[in-house]
Symmetry: C5
């Protein structure tokens, strides 16, 4: 059930489509162009999307770097913050995101409540409205609802964040939950960000980041009405036999990371939804930057950098984030 | 538990009934006649049914060709769109349906949100409000709620689409869900389309398209209050022993595809509900057209053509859809 | 766990009570007398009960013959209607019930929606608000909610019908559902009819119609607030050992069908609730009439005749229903 | 896990506390004293509690005899009423409770609906809002919701009755249900009566009436906000090892029935909640009266007498209830 | 999966952070400083937090001693109150908390209802809105909802208390429940106290109080939006291998109880949430005081003292609580 496919650059029909759709433009035009993809949203939601796109050092480029800090909940506080103890303090992350010029900061209810007044209006916030902890190790994970659209509004957020686990037996219920949240959020003028993380008993460990599964998970998030889709960086592994046939027959280029990013972006409505990528566990700086270059080259819209930022000393984190922003600022990746 | 029954044309009592009920008429009269079957619906719902019936190249004939594109969600984006990459772009399907003169375009939330403003008023839309993905392979499938009646209204849709799986252990809950959706939709003046797809642990693979099961599934959809019922083309297989007795005793003609279509139409309130048929996987053109001729001959109200249209090059798809429309346009099949 | 008890007519204490309670009276008095049993209902509900009791050929007698047509949903369309194909058409059943002078017609949402306007005001309608199909064969059956009180109101019904399965592991949830439906229905002035059909893993096949179980099921329906209780005709089988002791000790007469009917009526609040009986599968005319005579002799309030009517040719059905009405019209059974 | 403890009268610390709390007083003072324990309830609820305490032959004594008739639902109609057939008629129980001078009559929806108008204002009514039938025999029983607070209000009841099964795996859900019912009832000025019947897979048969379990069950009902708590008469059996240690160490007197009643009363907030006891199956008159004397001697607030009253001839029942009332009327038990 | 780590005082980076954050101050300043951490709460909630912090003998110090009495529900009345029978009476606990000068009294619905009027305004109350009994012994425990935010308001409470069981398979549902309760409570100006007690099939017995699990559980409560977090005193046991790696690598000091308290406080947003500790079963006085000294030394905000207070004679309890208050009153632990 597992296979990889070599790169076949000559026949990249997908890339052609994508390039045509998402053409280079001036910065201001670029944000307007992106907002144009969301024709069914009300001006309130467009305003909040614009706030996100126009904030920080990448403001106006159509690229995004978001700081997410839900690892305290997801992995435990010591595992998350002991490597850099100032990060136990929720104010630390607001400051880090602001100083680094991130587009937004995303966190669970408690962390946002602990700083939203002190840093009000200083950077766009995204309330992560569901979360999961690591004290149980389920074959088919689910998430707890930990925040609401009303919470996001009272905290001044520009949007909500929601995790789905395609591949889990609980996925259908999760899709139903985000449907309900998204309807309420969009009515209230908020943006909707979906973390689409394939996990569950129907997937092999490799399958969770396999290119077919990753592209499928991104597409599901887009169909569920996400404005912004966050996925993990895909590998060249293909999980489903029925998918492998089409990847081989159509010679979809997935040999390089940039190609795989390009494919995932294509799976998000031919590039007409904002797809961003997470960096995974704390890693060597150069590895991270290499990945950012591939995301940029592949037409990805940006990164969500958690452990690689707040688990370093602040000065190191600011340096890394500056380097990442520099990469995304280049017009021609 | 499986058997087929030979054609016994002489005793087709059902056909007689049907012919009497659904008599030939002028086009305008035909739409009025069909609307007359829905005497319990409010003028709002009748208006939207009329929009559907009067739109496109088959407008006014009482026949329908609908373009459905939920395969990205149901099978994955690469399996659905890689054979024809422009189809990754949600605008492609609006354009295809408009250019082909389809009666309507049906899709999940994300795909409709991505084009509803650009193509507002250019063709009737149906919001598919529940969906299922193929990352898990369940014996007894269920669907996630992915859209709402309010979503359908804000997107300007004429109706909602809902899938039920008769035969699944989750079917009773699904029936309850569509009951609730349909009540809200009808109050809001929307039409209700039910995709009735038998699946689940109580059915053999052949049973999913067996004539007894298909007719039963169509009838359930009608009893649940569907205005339009979509089923797969039935085979001559009979799944249930208790059903086989009656098919044999009453000599119900099911030998040809046209006869089976006629029987399914009869199962939909003696022809007083709109029953349309799906084409299945992408197939040879002539096979598809042969099926359309059978549907027309059997008194079917039309087709819902997904993979056979958007997985071809656009020009090929337009040609095929034109041929299909031509068949349905013939007064005497 | 199974036994039958011989008739011991001498000690029929139950019959004595019943006779005293439900005394003969003039027709008009009789309906008023019956309405008097429902002192906690509002005038709206009494009005609809009166409509039911005063309609048709048995109007005013306090006896009822109701046409129910949910078999298309419960057993499938071909098994239900192929023996008499005009019955595929939902209008057929309205016409049959009107021509036969039935007190009411009961059917699921789809069938009622398909005729409620055409036949508005021509006979009392009962919306069956839950249903079950035969594509799955569960040990512990449940029903899907398929209609609402609001549906019943918009369709002009006099009441709702609801099936419970005492003996199923899902029964407690079903009781809770009808509680909620009944509260809303009574507030809206509708009558509540409960189909009480014992089924489930705790009962033997014989137990489903055993006299103890049937009487218990009828009593549960009465306690749940039903105005009209529909049960199957009971056999002399006794299912529960704890019940057998009391049937034997108290020498409850259950040897004849009339005695068993009398006992079931007694279980419905000593005859102060309307208990009617279903006829079962299509059968020989004389068998059916024999049963009707026993129901009448036992003080039953009437019959609900489905398959024995609509699965015959219309003329035959009208003849049979006329014969049934004649039996119930006799003052001294 | 099972043991009994001998009586150690010398160290009855609990009795001392109780005596001090519930001191003898004139009748009128006594009701006011009892109402004083319910300081968080609104005047509406106090009014209904006062109606209950001031009604019938024990009115004003602070003692209660309540007639409950849910056995038709719980055990079946023949097992309940065949020994005394007039009891099939719901009016019988209203009359019995009125003639016997009971404080109140408690029954499920159907039985109350069938008499509430005819006997309006003649005695306080308690609507049993959940019920269970005996057609399934579950290891971990649950109850169906069969009535609502709104039902209780429209029927003129003074309160609602609710059964919980401590020891059942469904108990937590039941606690949550009564929480919700009690909140609504108290807001509406109704009294809340909890039937606390330990049952379920975690208890031995003896454990269901063991003194530790009975006291615990009574305390849970009190903590859930019950105004009146109904438990079964406890035996000297101790079910839980952790409890036995404390019963032995503290030498809690549980050797006689009166002592056990006293202990249960103490478990109900040191006697500051009304605890009443049920009599169990129909039994010899003297046995019943002996139990009543023990309840009175132990400081119990009264009895709920079902099968021992309505399963006797009315004259016998009235005699027994008169004898019971006489016992509770004695100032010095 | 189990290990302990020696103390490595030299590298206590966490302690440094904490000291900086929670600096010594005058009493009045201290309460204002603490309120300053809750910048997202409305003035109503801050008012109730201030009431809690300013009440009793520790009022204004920023330290808390709370009397909780839910053991009657959680363990049974005899096990809880037989050692000190006056404690059966709910008024006893109000009096004890008032006389001892506690900051607040926390209890389930029944106990609070039984005294809230008599002691209105005499001390801050916390309504425990979920509870669990010990009649079933589940591998994965859950709690019943037993109170509401509306109950807390009508009883004059300053806040609600809610138990979560991290490690239980039901934990995600519990997180969702407190999310909903907390949203309603905060809107109504109430404080939210979370009892975070790790239990369930994924944890060893030692793991329930292991330092990694305890810190994680405290952090989850903080992320769920708790104003006050109650945990058990942690041991040096480490439950999760992935956690042990980081505790060892970062040399987190957990050798002494004070260090472990300091770590848990740090896990609560770097000390910017109020973390208090429970004392466990009734124990020798000196053991209890030793623990209090460690809590104070470690920067803990106080104690919740149940069984160690109400299971002693009142005079002994008052003495112990006075000693505890004395410890917490010391400026330099």
């Amino acid at each position: 059930m597992q296979a990889t496919i070599e790169r076949r650059p000559a026949e990249n029909r997908a890339a052609t489509t994508l390039t045509r759709t998402v053409s280079p433009s001036t910065n201001k035009d670029r944000v307007q162009e992106i907002l144009g993809w969301y024709g069914s949203d009300n001006p309130g939601t467009l305003t909040n999307l614009a706030r996100l796109l126009n904030h920080g050092r990448l403001g106006g480029t159509g690229k995004l770097v978001i700081l997410p800090v839900d690892q305290g909940f997801e992995h435990g506080p010591a595992r998350s913050f002991a490597p850099n103890p100032p990060a136990y303090d929720p104010r630390y992350h607001f400051e880090l995101a602001i100083e680094a010029g991130c587009n937004a900061y995303a966190a669970p209810l408690g962390f946002l409540e602990a700083g939203a007044r002190d840093f009000a209006g200083q950077l766009p916030l995204i309330l992560k409205v569901n979360d999961h902890d690591a004290l149980n190790d389920e074959k088919d994970p689910f998430q707890a609802l930990t925040g609401s659209v009303q919470d996001a509004l009272r905290l001044g957020c520009v949007g909500i964040g929601f995790t789905i686990y395609p591949g889990s037996t609980h996925r259908l219920e999760m899709y139903g939950q985000i449907r309900s949240y998204a309807e309420e959020a969009k009515k209230a003028g908020l943006a909707v960000v979906i973390w689409s993380y394939p996990r569950g008993s129907s997937l092999s460990k490799d399958g969770e980041t396999g290119i077919d599964v990753c592209g499928y998970a991104a597409h599901i998030a887009a169909q569920l009405g996400a404005h912004i889709i966050k996925v993990k960086l895909p590998t060249a592994h293909i999980e489903q036999d029925v998918a492998r046939k089409i990847y081989e027959k159509e010679r979809i280029p997935i040999g390089t990371l940039a190609e795989r990013v390009r494919h995932v972006v294509q799976c998000c409505f031919g590039g007409r939804r904002i797809a961003i990528f997470s960096g995974g566990p704390a890693d060597a700086t150069e590895t991270v930057l290499e990945e950012i270059r591939a995301i940029h080259a592949g037409g990805g819209f940006g990164s969500i950098i958690g452990r690689n930022s707040f688990q370093r000393k602040k000065s190191d984190a600011l340096k890394l984030l500056a380097d990442i922003v520099d990469i995304y600022s280049k017009k021609n990746p």
